[in-house]
Symmetry: C2
């Protein structure tokens, strides 16, 4: 029996960016308090959260304080420290979901790909590389060009370098963090980038409808749902997502990025053990958002309805220009006036080039084709002006 | 041009109950900070709000502190002090919406009815009563039985006493607060109770679809939208609502309660110059909720789309039993498992008989008739157990 008292359960969240902010926004109607831990004072999540512990992500004493105030711990950033979380889980008895060991699996792309491959989950061909000679061998085996990837520390495209026979392999290796931190992955000539937001609850699994993602400079720009792919591709994507969830340890939301290949097969690109940018559309487009699902899942509450309410498009508001400066956007009317659009502004103090500052969601009107829906979200986003 | 910077605009809200809580939940995605003023430490709104000023509603110094931290002031409780707000508005230049004078109009039901009547807005026949003899005269004129009402201080049915020729009029007068605080209103034999949530923006007016309300013991139990009334009644209700908005001074959301009479005409029962319990359905059932509309309106931003997303029913979770005790509800599964239901728990520390502790919203599945939709919300609500 699930009982809710007041004060309700407290969720301690390592990380206080936009994901923590939207988690706290989703937790409040359920009577769930959120306390976040983040090194940046007045981090985005600090406003809707009950409180913020200002500390580094690996500050064991601070995480212990967070645990002392929490019924369950979770994280919204992969920089969370698995060793610290495991120790604190053991010492305090406050559970952490997903399990901290998941971070180990996620941090290292090579380890992640091997684990998925071992579990029979399709991934693009890959191999570990230690030296320039290994890179050359990998190109022979996997085909050229291929993608040299940092095993750890890559994020939003940082740490990915395309390589072919003519590349300076030593320089490329250095660029992704040097020997011991590299893998080569077959260059995926994909048809579409897809993602499934999966949820692992207490003895139950769920998945949202498949989204279609548009990246540029390896940063997510837009998502449209349902993805414009054949039904069998959507079904296969969800099946793969459920296989991934089976392999994961601990409850919570997982963002599962996939490639759709020309023949309609799919392979897993990357997994994030947390709510995911490509799932922001769920706030307006699904019955229960990925953020509420994460709250429910980590607390061991029943999961909510992951069905679509209506086709939806999301466009990220990214910092423009080429300097760091105070965050300020103008021409908000373009979004506020639009009858089927919703603004989400993350409350970040300053903007940097390509920094995720907010997003705009459009829900479908009448029988609008998804092309137009996506275009509408883009146009609204582009109409907003960074002052 | 509407520009949003970070930190965004701050809304200072007098009152920190569930309305303030849902205001703060709606403000966060817009990048708007909320600071509430409420005498109860850890009031319901304190969790999602940035901060709480712990002070009485008429504490001028504290309201001045609130104004100093705010770009705009508003209130979510009618106990807000109009004199204090007017003085502070004048002294600090921080605007308050709705205008504090609106509170004067609302506080005194006689003044409210007269103002509406003067503006040509239909209200049930009423008259001021000073003495037991006046009550007898009023019964002669307006018909018997009639409703003796406290002019001020009544809330959720407190302060209403039915009277007829056999009633002890002196005792009834004493019960509603004595001479100088009473009016008699014609007993309305209504067909239905309706309400319209209206929004007064910067040079624009808007109204949500008409809701149908079910009261028991003069406390709202359920709302279903759209109301099950004839189209011409719905249209007339909205017209009356727009007339009311015209008469109101200052931007914001207004809850307008109406009676539908047997002949299909409507009259205004009461106005609340704030988001209203009968508008909670808008969170899931409309494109933009009454809370987001209030934030937009008081800041002078463009209003959002008030159209229905789908038919919706809301059932209040009221404290049961007959004592004040720690708030705790069980059997949450009944709501969390239901595919088209949403829980809102206000985070109040203790429960009292009939206290508003939370609400459950159900959105329509397929072609479900509104009777069944309403019944589903009731059944889910009744399945929740106050421990």
């Amino acid at each position: 029996m699930t009982t809710l008292s007041t004060p309700g359960p407290t969720l301690g969240v390592v990380g206080g960016g936009q994901l923590g902010r939207m988690l706290a926004e989703a937790a409040s109607p359920l009577g769930v308090d959120v306390v976040v831990l983040d090194p940046t004072p007045d981090c985005p999540a600090s406003t809707p959260a009950r409180d913020q512990v200002v500390a580094e992500f690996d500050d064991v004493d601070a995480i212990r304080d967070l645990a002392d105030r929490s019924d369950t711990l979770t994280f919204e950033i992969e920089l969370a420290d698995q060793d610290a979380l495991e120790r604190i889980e053991r010492d305090t008895g406050v559970p952490c979901h997903p399990k901290p060991a998941t971070l180990d699996l996620i941090h290292d792309k090579l380890v992640q790909k091997r684990a998925l491959d071992d579990a029979g989950i399709p991934v693009p061909p890959f191999r570990e590389v230690e030296s320039p000679a290994d890179v050359a061998d990998a190109l022979d085996d996997l085909g050229s060009p291929a993608m040299l990837k940092a095993r750890t520390g890559g994020y939003d495209g940082r740490g990915n370098v395309p390589v072919d026979e003519d590349t300076d392999h030593a320089a490329a290796l250095a660029e992704v963090g040097g020997e011991g931190n590299a893998m080569v992955e077959s260059f995926v000539d994909y048809e579409r980038e897809l993602s499934v937001i999966g949820v692992k609850g207490d003895g139950e699994l769920a998945a949202f409808p498949v989204g279609e993602n548009v990246h540029r400079e390896e940063i997510l720009r837009e998502t449209v749902v349902p993805a414009r792919a054949d039904t069998f591709v959507l079904e296969e994507s969800r099946e793969v997502a459920f296989d991934v969830l089976d392999r994961m340890d601990g409850r919570g939301v997982y963002g599962i990025e996939l490639f759709e290949h020309e023949d309609g097969s799919v392979s897993v690109n990357e997994i994030a053990p947390r709510p995911h940018n490509s799932g922001h559309w769920t706030i307006e487009g699904a019955h229960v958002s990925q953020f509420e699902q994460h709250v429910r899942a980590v607390l061991g509450w029943p999961l909510g309805n992951t069905e679509l309410r209506c086709p939806t498009a999301m466009a990220n508001l990214l910092g423009d220009g080429d300097t760091t400066r105070d965050a300020e956007i103008g021409l908000l009317e373009t979004v506020l006036d639009a009858p089927d659009a919703h603004l989400h502004w993350y409350g970040k103090r300053d903007t940097r080039p390509l920094r995720k500052m907010g997003h705009v969601t459009c829900i479908r009107t009448e029988d609008e084709p998804r092309e137009e829906l996506l275009e509408r979200a883009r146009t609204l986003r582009d109409g907003i002006d960074f002052a």
